[in-house]
Symmetry: C2
Subunit: 108 residues, 2 copies
């Protein structure tokens, strides 16, 4: 049960969840998700890839992999990554989205 | 380039985008997305399916299919649906998630 031609070739969801308060579980929104998502969106737009058939960068609520975060998932491939900074996001864009290869060092 | 076993068998993203102001384009957040997403989340939890390997219901930013909305996408199948009310959401849960069949009347 899958469609042959996806609406987006790469549909990217950044977990943006923010947990507040002392002693709360870690959350992607407190670990650079906003900067990372904006960076990805800007770069995909600059590459001219932000359209149907190509790439969509989205914000999402809690993806419930908090302890492995910050996390981003790329569908329909179903590949999950963590990242530290925007250079990791660039690697995911260059290697996975443009190159079609998994970034093994960031894969979770 | 795809993983054999997805982290979630069905990862469901509701577009929650709200556009404000006169003459603005229609938006899912103004067409019942919040009620629909909460309904889906509650029902999946009641079914005991809200865990890794099963189902995740998420909120997402604008999925950029505004004129076809409100929209929801289920990955990794990459199936897009519109809906009118919570009975349509129940149909998507019963038929697609539980039954493994496409809901043709709601598919976009």
């Amino acid at each position: 049960m899958s469609d042959n031609k996806p609406y987006y070739e790469h549909h990217v969801f950044f977990c943006m969840n923010v947990r507040e308060g002392e002693n709360c579980r870690q959350s992607c929104g407190k670990a650079g998700a906003e900067v990372a998502q904006k960076h990805a969106k800007k770069r995909i737009k600059a590459l001219g890839l932000n359209e149907p058939g190509k790439v969509r960068i989205n914000q999402a609520g809690c993806l419930e992999r908090c302890e492995e975060g910050p996390v981003v998932v790329i569908y329909p491939q179903g590949t999950w990554y963590t990242y530290v900074d925007t250079s990791d996001i660039d690697d995911i864009i260059d290697t996975h989205i443009l190159g079609g290869e998994i970034v093994e060092r960031l894969k979770i």
